[in-house]
């Protein structure tokens, strides 16, 4: 189970949403942690494809949308995200900001919130243009998935 939480800033929310639903989502996320069920605790890890560079982050508005908190849990994530940070200077890095214990507390409450919700399959396949995909994503979110 891997959880990502992110904060949106006043005036940028829609831009953030657009950004998150673009191909830069996985390198622009704010904080992620995964539960290690075998060990009974959590550990931090890098979101997949984190270092994938984005060539579409060119406009000032989109760049502003990426200016948000980036929390990482360990040095490994820093290495993974280095290329992404270089590619988009507005992604902020705050290492070791949330402890494993704090992450576990958040995870417990988030898990209750997510209980009963189903996982969505790749929502981008066979839908059409990226714009159409974003519209569909908004629809799903409003519907309460």
């Amino acid at each position: 189970m891997m959880i990502k939480i992110s904060l949106s800033f006043l005036g940028n929310r829609f831009l953030l949403r657009q950004t998150e639903l673009s191909h830069v989502l996985k390198r622009a996320c704010s904080f992620s942690f995964t539960r290690n069920y075998n060990a009974g605790n959590i550990s931090h890890r890098s979101p997949v494809n984190l270092a994938t560079p984005s060539r579409r982050v060119t406009s000032r508005r989109t760049s502003t949308a990426l200016r948000r908190l980036y929390v990482q849990g360990d040095d490994t994530l820093l290495e993974c995200s280095e290329a992404a940070i270089e590619d988009c200077k507005d992604v902020l890095v705050v290492p070791e900001f949330i402890s494993a214990e704090e992450g576990e507390l958040l995870l417990q409450e988030i898990s209750r919130t997510l209980r009963g919700k189903r996982y969505l399959y790749n929502h981008w396949d066979g839908v059409g243009s990226p714009l159409r995909m974003r519209v569909d994503q908004f629809t799903c979110r409003v519907a309460g998935y």
């Binding site: 005036g11 940028n12 502003t64 705050v94 996982y119 969505l120 790749n122 396949d125 979110r141």
Partner: protein, 57 residues
């Protein structure tokens, strides 16, 4: 085909039940707001966006 994400659940939380979690999220927002320099972007919204990726997501 562009594939940004697959196998996920999504939600938003505007409030937290556990007082400890309220403090944790407040701490996140404090750091975020202190770090963001653009004036109109200094206030984090109440909603915390949450993505839960499936094991194979």
């Amino acid at each position: 085909m562009l594939q940004a994400i697959e196998g996920y659940r999504e939600t938003e939380k505007t409030s937290w039940d556990a007082p400890t979690n309220i403090a944790i999220v407040r701490k996140l927002k404090d750091v975020a707001e202190a770090t963001v320099t653009e004036e109109r972007s200094q206030t984090a919204l109440d909603e915390v966006h949450i993505l839960d990726l499936a094991k194979d997501g």
